[in-house]
């Protein structure tokens, strides 16, 4: 059987009809990983034995007609999400040998359906970066061009899906870390609304921004994973109960009813590549040709979003990463002579340069005398950005933007200048700051490199994003 470009939807059909077993499907993807991972470095660890035994259980479930959509479906998990008894590195030397003692809630939910976990994927250290070049375990290469990055920080998950090493994956998104690699690798990625998916068992980066979300080949597949992992969890008090209120209305929406906002601040942004703009505008024009209403809108505080993000994220990560002190987890420097040296040398030795930079920026921004000028001001600007979105969503249903100002860049191209790397996040950080949901899907290519269309929706309007994404994917 030709399994190339298989989707979750199609695999579920094959499994249900007995055309293939979950064990065969899992073996196929383990084989794919075996032959491709050496070149791409998408997976940091592969759990072959466990995956096959889980697939066996899935086959029993399928035989007994107890299967759901994800039963027996091979998935990859970003290596900052805990899977019990497996190593979880977060891309950092400091956690190189750290073994999870419990499952993240999202993993519990996947296990309940007997989804098959193939292994853990590469990321920037502690999900800090934009290209997976900050991983302590080497860069992940873009399957479309191995001289280029896969994007980040969920670069391993994006590359694994794009190179057909799994049927779907989980990533995390703090400032674009699902959407930007999805865009660079030509797959679909969702950053859910803040509070839609439990982060219990995800290693924290920027706690007021972090969300776990799905990546897959189609919008439908992303929706299937999302439906399984989302929902209230008493173990993450930021999850919002009964939030999917838009579902009923969305069923009835037609493409001609859609009001699509085009924010001028994004399309006129200085760093936006002209060809990327053209391809994204083509997608906009397609919706217009189908009867959707296109409206130019303004999100006036967009210019402050990147500076606000690069205060809030470092501030929160400096607090979150304080726990890697050589006492409770992971590595401890061997050269330390007393308690203070234990902290200093452990963090000096085992944390990468960008992680150290962010911790220091965060420490500075939170230190006495600077708090009001930096962190407090950034959180006020965040109120303004949220207000921009609230007002925009009174006039339009969804907002279209490019996911990234460029296609995948060359490995090493932006590593010398931190600020140039930060600029890669310009169109994605706003969704995290405002808490809204965002979907990235492929809308074309430039020289064989994928271009992503970002569709932003109001809080908890994931079902609307799926509907709009599916219109485009299926009808175009």
């Amino acid at each position: 059987m030709d399994l190339k470009n298989l989707t979750i939807e199609k695999a579920h059909e094959l499994l249900s009809n007995g055309k293939i077993s979950a064990v065969e499907l899992t073996s196929h993807y383990l084989g794919q990983i075996d032959s491709k991972n050496k070149e791409l470095n998408a997976f940091l660890s592969v759990h072959a034995e466990k995956a096959l035994s889980c697939a066996k259980e899935a086959d029993v479930k399928i035989k007994n007609d107890q299967a759901s959509y994800l039963t027996g479906i091979p998935l990859a998990i970003k290596d900052n999400i805990l899977v019990k008894n497996e190593v979880c590195t977060a891309g950092s030397k400091i956690l190189e040998n750290y073994k999870a003692s419990y499952n993240a809630t999202v993993i519990e939910r996947l296990n309940r359906e007997n989804a098959v976990i193939l292994g853990k994927t590469n990321l920037d250290e502690f999900a800090i970066g934009s290209s997976t070049e900050n991983s302590a375990f080497g860069v992940t290469k873009n399957p479309h061009d191995t001289e280029r990055v896969a994007g980040g920080t969920s670069g391993g998950s994006a590359a694994a899906v794009a190179a057909d090493m799994c049927l779907g994956a989980l990533g995390t998104d703090t400032g674009g870390s699902i959407r930007q690699p999805a865009s660079f690798c030509g797959v679909v990625g969702l950053k859910p609304t803040y509070g839609a998916v439990s982060r219990f068992g995800a290693i924290a980066s920027g706690s007021s921004l972090d969300q776990i979300g799905p990546m897959a080949k189609t919008v439908k597949d992303v929706a299937l994973i999302y439906e399984t992992i989302s929902g209230h969890d008493p173990l993450d008090s930021t999850t919002v109960p009964n939030n999917s209120k838009l579902l009923d209305r969305v069923e009835e929406i037609n493409i001609a009813d859609l009001r699509i906002g085009i924010p001028k601040e994004y399309f006129e942004a200085k760093g936006l590549n002209a060809e990327v703009k053209e391809i994204v505008m083509k997608a906009v024009k397609w919706f217009e040709s189908q009867g959707a209403t296109i409206k130019e809108i303004s999100l006036p505080n967009t210019e402050y979003s990147l500076p606000a993000y690069y205060i809030i994220q470092p501030a929160e990560c400096s607090a979150n990463l304080a726990r890697y002190d050589g006492i409770r987890y992971g590595q401890r420097s061997k050269d330390a002579k007393d308690l203070l040296e234990t902290y200093l040398k452990t963090k000096g030795e085992f944390l990468g340069a960008e992680t150290q930079r962010r911790i220091m920026i965060g420490t500075y921004a939170l230190s006495s005398g600077y708090y009001d000028a930096y962190y407090s001001q950034a959180q006020k600007v965040r109120t303004l950005i949220k207000k921009d979105f609230m007002e925009a969503f009174e006039d339009v249903d969804v907002i279209f933007t490019p996911t990234s100002p460029s296609t995948a860049f060359k490995i090493g191209e932006k590593t010398a200048d931190p600020l140039e790397m930060y600029a890669a996040d310009i169109f994605t950080v706003t969704a995290n700051l405002a808490g809204v949901c965002g979907l990235s899907l492929n809308c074309g290519k430039i020289n064989n490199l994928p271009v992503g269309l970002q569709i932003l929706g109001p809080w908890f309007a994931e079902s609307l994003l799926f509907k709009v994404g599916e219109f485009y994917e299926q009808l175009r």
Binding site: K99, G195, L235, N301, R328, Y329, Y343, T363, A378, A434
Partner: protein
């Protein structure tokens, strides 16, 4: 531009040991980043409340009861993650110097 002394101070507050050559590198990089984020001072935020929680949730309580998350085995495996441990306890470097 922040000074070398400031970089040293921040690194020490953050408990990160950095070498002299790193101090120089971080001085330039952190200064550039702080200049960039400094643009925020131009934003007019008079009378604007800072975001506390983006979806507006407040005071989420939970019952003070055993949720069955950790059994003895898992509890031990948490302690065993520590770089140094003994008899189910985490061993730390001496904090207060004894006599």
């Amino acid at each position: 531009m922040i000074s070398k002394e400031e970089v040293k101070k921040i690194a020490n507050l953050a408990r990160i040991e950095i070498s002299d050559s790193q101090i120089e590198k971080y001085q330039a990089e952190l200064s550039a980043i702080l200049d960039f984020v400094g643009q925020l001072s131009k934003a007019n935020t008079k009378g604007i409340e800072p975001i506390r929680q983006i979806t507006g949730l407040e005071s989420i309580f939970k019952k003070d009861e055993d949720r069955g998350l950790l059994d003895q085995e898992n509890g031990n495996s948490l302690v065993n993650q520590a770089p140094e441990h003994k008899d189910g306890f985490v061993v730390v470097p001496e904090v207060l110097k004894g006599k």
